[in-house]
Symmetry: C2
Subunit: 105 residues, 2 copies
DNA sequence: GTATCGTACAACCAAATGGTTGTAGATCTG
DNA sequence: CAGATCTACAACCATTTGGTTGTACGATAC
């Protein structure tokens, strides 16, 4: 994953409204206006949040009639989790080294 | 974890320089100026990045003589991973529901 | 004691972010 | 067809972000 991909992913997660959208569209389908009705902000603002999530592969949009259906996209979440798993692995290596030092001493 | 905590965490991860700092200080100790020497930006800029990471509990600072030693802090990483695990759980529930529907049909 | 080093912090700047309103194009409904 | 609905997008605004330089101050070295 490129730096730019990771930037987009974590940036997308760094907003409570967007995290809420991700949760909702994972369990059910929503049109953009359906989502907009849930939040105390304009339709355009929600539209922008959805666009941020789409660019981060956390959500997909599909046209259905005049509506745009938003659904969760597992791809982005998987990428984010794999990246954090790499950091976790670095921690485990470090713990391993410390254990080795203690074993030697 | 509060929304503000999550915001700070993911915001902190949403920058390649900061992610690199986290990796480095997890495997070894660095002073702030030691870190600053690694990047093509000013000392003050790196100092700000470290401050962002510290607020997000991804790093700790400890004064040693005139230096400030930066170390990785597992707490922030754990919080981030747990939060992503919650999203993963929502996905698994969804997959379960779909399987149920298929089993019924 | 006097440089020098490492840090903190303020002030500033350009660009990005998160919000707004307004306009316009598609699609459905009556 | 006319009107309502859903979406897209531009323009604008305030705040935050990521960077800079400059100043000040405690700790170290000579």
């Amino acid at each position: 994953m490129s730096d730019a991909d990771a930037d987009r992913l974590f940036q997308a997660f760094a907003d409570a409204t967007r995290r809420d959208i991700v949760r909702r569209v994972t369990v059910a389908e929503y049109s953009v206006s359906g989502l907009a009705a849930l939040y105390a902000m304009s339709f355009a603002a929600v539209q922008k949040h959805v666009a941020v999530l789409e660019r981060a592969s956390l959500v997909t949009k599909e046209k259905r009639g005049r509506e745009q259906i938003v659904r969760g996209n597992h791809e982005g979440l998987q990428k984010a989790r794999r990246l954090l798993d790499e950091y976790e692995a670095i921690w485990r290596q470090r713990v391993g080294r410390i254990a080795d030092i203690l074993a030697e001493g």
